[in-house]
Subunit: 297 residues, 2 copies
Amino acid sequence: MAGMKTVGLIGLGIMGRPMAGHLLRAGYGLTVFNRTAGRTAEIEAAGARVAASPAEVAAVADVILIVVTDSADVEQVVEGPRGLLSGIRSGSVVIDLSTISPATERRLDGLLRERGACLLDAPVSGGDVGARNATLAIMVGGDPRALEGVRPILECLGKSITHCGDVGSGQLTKLCNQILVGVTLLGVSEALLFAKRSGLDPEVMIRAVEPGAAGSWQLSNLGPRILKGDFAPGFMVDLMQKDLRLIQETAAASGAPLPATALVRQLFLAAQAHGEGRLGTQILGRVVERLAGPDGR
Amino acid sequence: MAGMKTVGLIGLGIMGRPMAGHLLRAGYGLTVFNRTAGRTAEIEAAGARVAASPAEVAAVADVILIVVTDSADVEQVVEGPRGLLSGIRSGSVVIDLSTISPATERRLDGLLRERGACLLDAPVSGGDVGARNATLAIMVGGDPRALEGVRPILECLGKSITHCGDVGSGQLTKLCNQILVGVTLLGVSEALLFAKRSGLDPEVMIRAVEPGAAGSWQLSNLGPRILKGDFAPGFMVDLMQKDLRLIQETAAASGAPLPATALVRQLFLAAQAHGEGRLGTQILGRVVERLAGPDGR
């Protein structure tokens, strides 16, 4: 294992935990930190070192992965008390796999560069299933040479790794991903409601149209879950709502009106108003059905 | 060729013409009719008989395909002067491949049944390319035994033939198809606008997200055409608008509110208002870009 980079991982939630497993199995020396201490036991038993702070991770790792939830969480990890900045070594690469504001990534990259380190923003698509099976799509912004240096590490986590441009471009691409995911899912929800109210068998409808121009990942994967009433998260409404807020802030700043995306956001607000924020995004199918009320035919 | 059915085909437009070719190559005896007489010469040279009216087609064919544009056109073919009804033989099967109102199909089926014939509504998805390559998805409503009798004929035209339910179910399934196509394309249009205004390379964005949960036929096939400014029809805005009108009429009658589909319809109206009704549906990408106006960055 001579010459293999030492890896740090901060955040052992639903996404971070399976990633830690993949890195250990690939033979990387791994140091982890999690805000809630209880979650580290299993990873420690599998061979990881547990650090007491992000600064402690930064002191030993060449490459540091961050897998947390929101911009404020990443800021806390990087520039909070005992954050990465207070321990980072020159030449280290920080890879933020969280989905957060592109502007925040650019600011944090600036702070890291003052210490001779740098940041790649690398949000992922594919959910918990993709994290477990290492089939994530990873969208990377930042220095392309830094990406080439850490590519073998990212290849332990995902099947498609695309360089999208400067720091922040990964996040911007992820926001495009969320526009597509949200609006396509709304189309699926409306088609299923239309099918049911028209007396069609909606499963037969999906089978009939999915091989053609109507086909999408959302239709084939979430359509059947909507029909079964299976609303367990894949990807939670509360997190989608966070991404939709980022999209609208970014789009407002760049002058891009997005009417369907705005509608999707309103309908996810309706799900949250019904206490469904911790369910999967496919709850949109139920939101649309509620618009219609009981079927009086 | 003993025992092979004699086939009639009414409508030699962009969809009907290649279908006639496939049927002749498969060895079927074919009689055609087209409202505009000039279009028949090529098909006649290839071995088809040309009839002077739909009634004349009905008098010689066991199976009659209709491939025209709108409900009124199909009504004209079936119950107009010298229409199918005045020549139809008992036991004949009429297959309407046009996309028209489900209620009209049910009414025409009733009229045909009074003569011992019946109707299958069998709208298709896949556009002119699908018609030329015989890769259409065909969504069929009506008597399942009648479908089994004509399945070899439909297999000359498409790669997926799905029985969706009673007469009218093919049309209802096609309308679901159009909800999905329209709303997904609007998502693609908004994602591309967002990408451009954010300074991303939109082609790289498509490549980064299409393998994941954001993937769709519309993204992979129409996204690159929008970026190239290639607005040649695949499927024309004017025809899509016709389908969206049918969707909203049917949904209003069954009590299904479809907010995103309604939005799509308004934006296609904007394309028509700009004189773009005869361009392909991917013009929606330009409509959304016009919402944003010139890029002032």
